[in-house]
């Protein structure tokens, strides 16, 4: 234990990183499941169903498949870059995640008070953008190195798209930054506490609704998601920049994509949706029970499901899951944990909603054509975002007078 107490900072950071990574990867996996389910239901299918109850084991199966598939690398490709590209995208994606605070509370690990964020910096926002702006390389290099025209075209498209939309993405949050006057996530969130007219939370989405829309649209484009998923437009260029990638390298791109999705959603939450703040006033103490109750209800529902609809392995599975849920629920009832969880709960809830929105969009909207995409980005989104910035600046100045 001596060592730990000595280098507490280091150890704590390592632990946090480990936890975050684990969480991120798992969540990613289950995001795919969730998305497939959702899209399936939107398209009046049921989606994954047979691998485990409700296809709950589908992600695991996919993971295994990725691991055990043969790792092809084309002889004519540029080996080094070919391997570098996926690494780059994944690393950068996860790194940005490290800057996101998930809650206000300070918990104590090994007698070391720490916050719910891996890297705490006052310029968090800037850093996130800085890092995410490098993410382009993953795509670009992947396409170039795999020495195939589909890949090259795909990567050119996607990197062009990412760059174009990065501009409006950055511009759209300037309004918020102007309002808050800081790059620090914590301050950004706390600035959104309180109410307008005693009922409307001071979330910046309301004054910055235009900014929010711009942000969300360009975020979708930035992460190459439908309806802006031209880079992997199957109908046109097989699978875009990662056409030539297989097994684990492909998985990296895959994970990176979902991680980016989470990141931008987190950013949206923090910037516009009041981060971990609950929508309800402080004095409604009953709201503290919402997470616990939610978990318990889920557990009960699952138990009922297991009891009546399933049998065999699937049933055991469901039972296990429901027990997990119940256990968590009970844990969440304990006062200390309850307090800690609050922020995280609200935060994750909002993020989840946004991601739901993502999936929803994918399920409903048709894909853009490339020129449409570009003209939309440069001729509509960018000017609007700019106008928003200017207007906001003027209003703020006017207010201060």
């Amino acid at each position: 234990m001596g060592f730990i107490t000595q280098h507490a900072v280091l150890v704590v950071s390592i632990v946090k990183v480990a936890v975050l990574l684990l969480a991120a990867l798992t969540v990613n996996a289950y995001l795919t499941w969730f998305e497939r389910k959702l899209v399936g239901h939107i398209q009046s299918r049921i989606g994954p169903y047979f691998v485990g109850a409700h296809g709950l084991l589908q992600p695991a199966a996919d993971g295994l498949k990725f691991l055990f598939k043969e790792d092809l690398t084309i002889p004519t490709s540029d080996r080094f870059v070919f391997c570098l590209a996926p690494l780059l995208s994944l690393t950068l994606a996860l790194t940005t995640l490290a800057l996101i605070p998930f809650g206000p509370a300070t918990i104590t690990i090994f007698g070391q008070p720490t916050e719910l964020v891996v890297a705490n910096t006052t310029l968090g926002l800037l850093m996130v953008f800085a890092i995410s702006s490098i993410g382009v390389y993953g795509v670009a290099l992947a396409g170039w190195s795999s020495n195939s025209k589909y890949s090259l075209l795909g990567s050119l498209r996607s990197s062009a798209q990412m760059i174009s939309y990065e501009v409006s993405l950055t511009l759209s949050i300037v309004g918020v930054v102007l309002l808050a006057g800081t790059f620090d996530f914590r301050t950004l969130v706390e600035g959104q506490g309180g109410y307008w007219w005693h009922f409307l939370p001071r979330w910046r989405v309301f004054p910055q609704i235009v900014g929010f829309m711009c942000y969300f649209i360009s975020a979708i484009a930035e992460t190459n998601r439908a309806p802006f998923d031209l880079p992997e437009a199957e109908s046109e260029l097989v699978a875009g920049f990662h056409t030539e990638y297989s097994s684990f390298k492909f998985a990296m791109f895959f994970v990176a994509e979902y991680t980016n999705m989470i990141t931008v959603s987190c950013l949206a939450t923090i910037l516009f949706l009041g981060g971990w703040l609950s929508p309800f006033p402080e004095r409604w103490t009953w709201q503290l029970y919402i997470p616990a109750v939610g978990l318990l209800l889920t557990g009960v529902a699952l138990l009922a499901d297991a009891a009546f609809k399933w049998n065999g392995i699937a049933r055991l599975q469901l039972v296990a899951v429901s027990l997990l849920a119940l256990g968590l629920g009970v844990l969440a009832l304990s006062p200390t944990v309850m307090l800690v969880i609050q922020g995280v709960f609200w935060f994750l809830l909002k993020v989840f909603l946004l991601i739901f929105f993502y999936a929803w969009a994918r399920g409903t909207l048709p894909r853009f054509r490339y020129d449409q995409l570009m003209s939309f980005g440069w001729k509509l989104l960018l000017p609007v975002a700019l106008a928003n910035v200017v207007l906001t600046a003027f209003l703020i100045e006017w207010w201060n007078r």
Binding site: T121, L126, M127, A130, I131, A140, L141, S159, A160
Partner: protein
């Protein structure tokens, strides 16, 4: 050896490595990657120097925009491995000595400079956020005119690039 010193040497090593690679590597895209490495390392050094904003801008603009442009052009022109012609005897024979001289000059200068001796201590560190705010203040008050001038410069550059790159027929 304290953390900052370690950080410095790590990044410095990376930077120099990148620079050397940039020169020796013959595939343009590899050179570009090497340069990106240098820039990343420099960004970290900026953080070390307490210039967070500059670090961010370095990554965002330099690594994120300018170098992407380079990579684009390389991909676009499908620039192959560069051939090592030696038409310029001057560069061939005088190149290295000249560069060496230059570095010597600079080294000498650094040796003479007094500002360099200052140790990078916590006291000298301006509070980061405030430093960024200060920076913006200077940019929009003291350096307003240069700022506007550069904005116009950028505009002109954009137009120029468009005109040059458009393949009109």
């Amino acid at each position: 050896m304290s953390v900052p010193v370690f950080m410095f040497f790590a990044c410095a090593a990376l930077a120099v490595l990148g620079a050397v690679l940039l020169i020796v590597v013959r595939e343009p895209i590899h050179s570009a990657l090497a340069l990106i490495l240098v820039m990343a390392a420099l960004a970290v050094l900026y953080l070390l120097l307490g210039a967070e904003f500059i670090a961010a801008v370095q990554l965002m603009v330099y690594a994120g925009a300018i170098m992407v442009l380079f990579v684009f052009v390389i991909m676009l022109l499908n620039a192959g491995v560069e051939e090592r012609t030696n038409k310029s005897l001057m560069a061939k024979y005088l190149g290295l000595p000249l560069a060496g001289f230059l570095v010597l000059d600079l080294a000498w200068w650094i040796a003479k400079s007094t500002a360099g001796k200052a140790e990078l201590t916590a006291s000298a560190v301006p509070a980061q956020a405030s430093s960024t705010i200060e920076l913006s203040r200077m940019l929009f008050k003291q350096y307003l005119f240069p700022f506007e001038a550069t904005s116009i410069l950028i505009l002109i550059a954009m137009l120029g690039a468009v005109v040059l790159a458009r393949r009109d027929s």
